[in-house]
Symmetry: C2
Subunit: 223 residues, 2 copies
């Protein structure tokens, strides 16, 4: 038996997802829970980043993770092993989560006692960018092997993101990846985007990311 | 001015995409053109694989490439430089191509004099797998940095693929990637899937892929 619930989320009944996302943010604000929407392509390192983040923050913040997947449970299992409460959301083939699907997960999860909930969205640089999930902020991970041209090709994702983790910097020597060009292209799309080069494998650069999360949660609770 | 056309393709008017895809395949059969649908995540190496494939086959096959992108033209420019005819399809934010969108590209491109047309689908492991484009076969690229668990997490893509290129094997020493496990997971989804480990960067393993393409085009024209 799994140590986490598995929820089959249903497509939203709300025509106006943006208004619904605002309602969900207010609900979460009322209970003092910060929701972060984490997006990336498959294989960029969302789960590895989360595992290391949980290890770093679990003694100071009450953490939960909602794992959205088309139909597997491998990520929720990994997160549970890492020591955080987790729930698995199955999207039934859908390539994204909207605010109401996120709310279904939040309600089943029971988040009243959590400071920070991270929603690991479906691995996809396209569709998830189109839907406000009700999260306070959006984080996107791009990994070095994917190439520095991605903000040119998947512009919306970089426009809606508040923070960009450039992951797998431990393999920079083996790829034609130009961090300066990535920064230039990403800021063309979104001048306010904060960029943290990290390696979820070695831990390099992760402290700046943890500090960002700490500040975000603190501000959300005090405002 | 671009050396290639840019087409804004519109969402299909056909309710039954599968039947429409069969019609498109028959149209292409009638003119002796083989259409391959090439899919992967962003950054797996679709364009690099195509550039090397064009260099290897352009003297024996009449080649064309249709580049589907949400709204950029960077790939069509790269393909044109590599020496193949190319056309850029803009999907206007849509995460996949269906058969009618593919037909719009085929008609604008003018493919009567081509032996092999490769459709580079939108970078996405989810949505493109759900739509038959009218191609004769589906190829998917998974790159080493993405991880060997992807057939577990994105099952449909591996079910609909006829051939899997495992790209970036030149960086195998730097990643926890198990080719045997990938093969096992991929064959769980699709026992008939042909798998070619390759490096589009160094050229390693690419000959088996070229041979597969040569055989496919020859069989299609002779049947």
């Amino acid at each position: 038996m799994n140590p986490f619930k598995v929820i089959e989320v249903k497509e939203s009944i709300f025509a106006d997802n943006n208004a619904d996302a605002d309602r969900l943010r207010q609900e979460l604000k009322g209970q003092g829970t910060y929701l972060l929407n984490l997006m990336s392509s498959p294989g960029s390192g969302k789960t590895s980043t989360l595992k290391r983040t949980i290890a770093a923050l679990k003694d100071e913040l009450r953490l939960g993770v909602m794992e959205a997947d088309i139909d597997s449970d491998v990520d929720a299992a990994a997160i549970t092993e890492a020591g955080a409460r987790a729930i698995q959301l199955h999207t039934g083939g859908m390539c994204h989560l909207d605010a109401d699907m996120t709310r279904q997960g939040i309600r089943e999860f029971g988040t009243e006692d959590l400071d920070l909930v991270i929603l690991e969205n479906v691995g996809n640089l396209v569709c998830p960018a189109e839907f406000d999930t009700g999260a306070v902020k959006n984080a996107v991970i791009l990994s070095v092997p994917e190439g520095h041209d991605k903000p040119l090709k998947y512009p919306l994702m970089f426009e809606v993101a508040n923070v960009l983790l450039v992951n797998k910097i431990d393999v920079l020597p083996y790829f034609d990846f130009d961090l300066e060009k990535l920064t230039e292209y990403a800021h063309m799309r979104n001048p306010g985007l904060q960029i943290f080069p990290v390696s979820a494998k070695t831990g390099e650069g992760m402290d700046a990311w943890y500090d960002w999360l700490r500040r975000e949660v603190k501000n959300w609770k005090s405002k």
